[in-house]
């Protein structure tokens, strides 16, 4: 077991092991996502208030969950990279940033599309929406910093510091935005008007959440493999790999 983790830390073995996982992950993710979408779009009952337009929730809510989850993963991987000088953790942290930003963007867009028929407007300065938007800015800052520093190892460590600072700040930002919102305007429409969600809606939602997690793992492994190849392009195993193909 320990040997397995040790091997996973070396770029060469990571490249091989991750490559063998990818087809399985892709299959599991596709099955779950199709099942979740079918359950959500067709099987789940129509909402008594929102009609069919609530069904965007099955995309919107999991992406909003992922947007926060990936930021925490990124900061944790960045911290591991800083503390134990583990190259692979740096690679995972950096590969996560664009995926997290995409999920944040997706959550904002789907929320906006959902908000138009429900609230009558594309955008409300609601606490959750605002902190999601700020989260997008934090992601973009991380990506901009990584792109600006030429030496990729320095860049990875600098962005790790930024991600950790961001993680400390996210709760503060979130609660300050919540405070700001409650003082400036009355309560807006709560997302789930009813006290609890119907079980036939909850199951597809959870299935979609798992599918999105698998999708993240899949894409982060694919990106990390490419990043590893690029970083190790002068290593012998990469040259052998290229010559073999």
């Amino acid at each position: 077991m320990l040997r397995f983790f040790h091997q996973l830390g070396s770029p060469k073995h990571f490249y091989r092991i991750a490559g063998s996982w990818i087809p399985w992950l892709a299959a599991a993710c596709a099955v779950l996502m199709l099942y979740g979408l079918y359950q959500g779009m067709v099987v789940a009952p129509t909402d008594y208030q929102q009609g069919d337009s609530y069904r965007i929730m099955f995309i919107h809510v999991p992406s909003a969950w992922m947007s926060l989850f990936i930021y925490v993963v990124m900061a944790a991987a960045g911290a591991i990279g800083l503390i134990w000088h583990m190259k692979l953790a740096e690679v995972i942290a950096i590969s996560s940033a664009p995926i997290g930003a995409s999920f944040t963007f997706l959550a904002l867009i789907t929320g906006s599309i959902w908000g138009k028929p429900m609230w009558g407007t594309w955008w409300v300065w609601d606490a959750r929406l605002t902190s999601e938007l700020i989260l997008l800015f934090l992601y973009l800052g991380v990506m901009a910093l990584y792109g600006a520093i030429d030496d990729k190892r320095t860049a990875a460590r600098a962005t790790a510091i930024l991600a950790i600072v961001g993680v400390v700040n996210i709760p503060i930002i979130h609660y300050s935005v919540e405070w700001w919102n409650t003082l400036h305007q009355g309560p807006t429409v709560t997302k789930f008007g009813a006290p609890s969600i119907d079980i036939r809606m909850l199951i597809p939602l959870l299935v979609m959440a798992v599918a999105f997690k698998l999708f993240y793992v899949l894409v982060v492994l694919m990106r990390a493999r490419l990043e590893v190849l690029e970083r190790e392009r002068n290593a012998r195993w990469v040259r052998e790999l290229v010559e073999a193909s």
């Binding site: 700020i134 800015f137 600006a148 320095t154 600098a158 600072v165 503060i172 300050s176 935005v177």
Partner: protein, 227 residues
């Protein structure tokens, strides 16, 4: 390494930075001018109705202060980076985070504190009441050091870059949001005649948090930027 020598290094560095700043007085004025200029633009842009101006004044002044603080950030480490002093701090026997704190305090005394002197004037221009101006000064006193401390992390990360300015704003501005919210709301609340102790306590908490954590992050960032 004794505490006395650490205190001495701290005081020396603080004094050196202040002295350097006062030898270049015109540069001291620039952030202030910027602060006044940006605030002047708003009545021109949104109209001179006193009631409207009074309502938006806290936000305007605080956003202007935020931008002025951000623009002046670049000077925290720039000259030390260019002449190599920063590397000397890095290899010195004193902990880098304490030296960083001295530099940030000096920077705040030079660029943050003067904002408090012009702020009442801007408050009068925007028809703020006396109580609001007092609240504005209190929030600036508590809030601007936080801006310098958080900003120092961003500067430390971008100091080695040639085009660091735009990226710096992208890194730092989202982190400034809590200060902006609490401070501008405190001023607006005091304008309505309500107590603002909760706001001030929260701003003070942010200050304590950033004084204790930000020098460590800044020092770590400097080590990476200079490696």
């Amino acid at each position: 390494m004794s505490t006395a020598s650490l205190n001495r290094a701290f005081a020396l560095l603080l004094w050196r930075d202040l002295l350097l700043a006062f030898r270049r007085r015109t540069e001291l004025l620039n952030p202030l001018l910027f602060f006044v200029l940006v605030t002047t633009l708003f009545p021109l842009g949104i109209g001179a109705d006193p009631a409207l101006l009074r309502a938006v004044a806290p936000g305007i002044i605080w956003v202007a202060a935020l931008l002025a603080a951000m623009l002046s950030l670049d000077s925290v480490f720039r000259s030390d980076f260019e002449d190599g002093s920063l590397e000397q701090f890095l290899i010195s026997a004193q902990p880098l985070s304490v030296l960083v704190l001295a530099k940030v305090i000096a920077h705040w005394l030079i660029t943050g504190l003067p904002l408090l002197i012009v702020a009442p004037l801007l408050g009068l221009l925007l028809h703020m009441s006396g109580a609001s101006i007092a609240a504005l000064l209190l929030t600036l006193l508590l809030g601007t050091p936080v801006l310098s401390l958080i900003g120092a992390i961003g500067v430390a990360l971008t100091v080695g870059l040639r085009r660091g300015g735009v990226i710096l704003s992208l890194l730092v501005l989202p982190l400034y949001i809590p200060v902006l919210i609490f401070a501008a709301d405190a001023v607006a609340t005091s304008g309505a005649g309500l107590p603002i102790t909760a706001h001030l306590s929260l701003l003070a908490a942010l200050l304590v948090l950033s004084v204790s954590l930000s020098p460590l992050a800044t020092a770590a960032a400097l080590k990476i930027s200079l490696s």
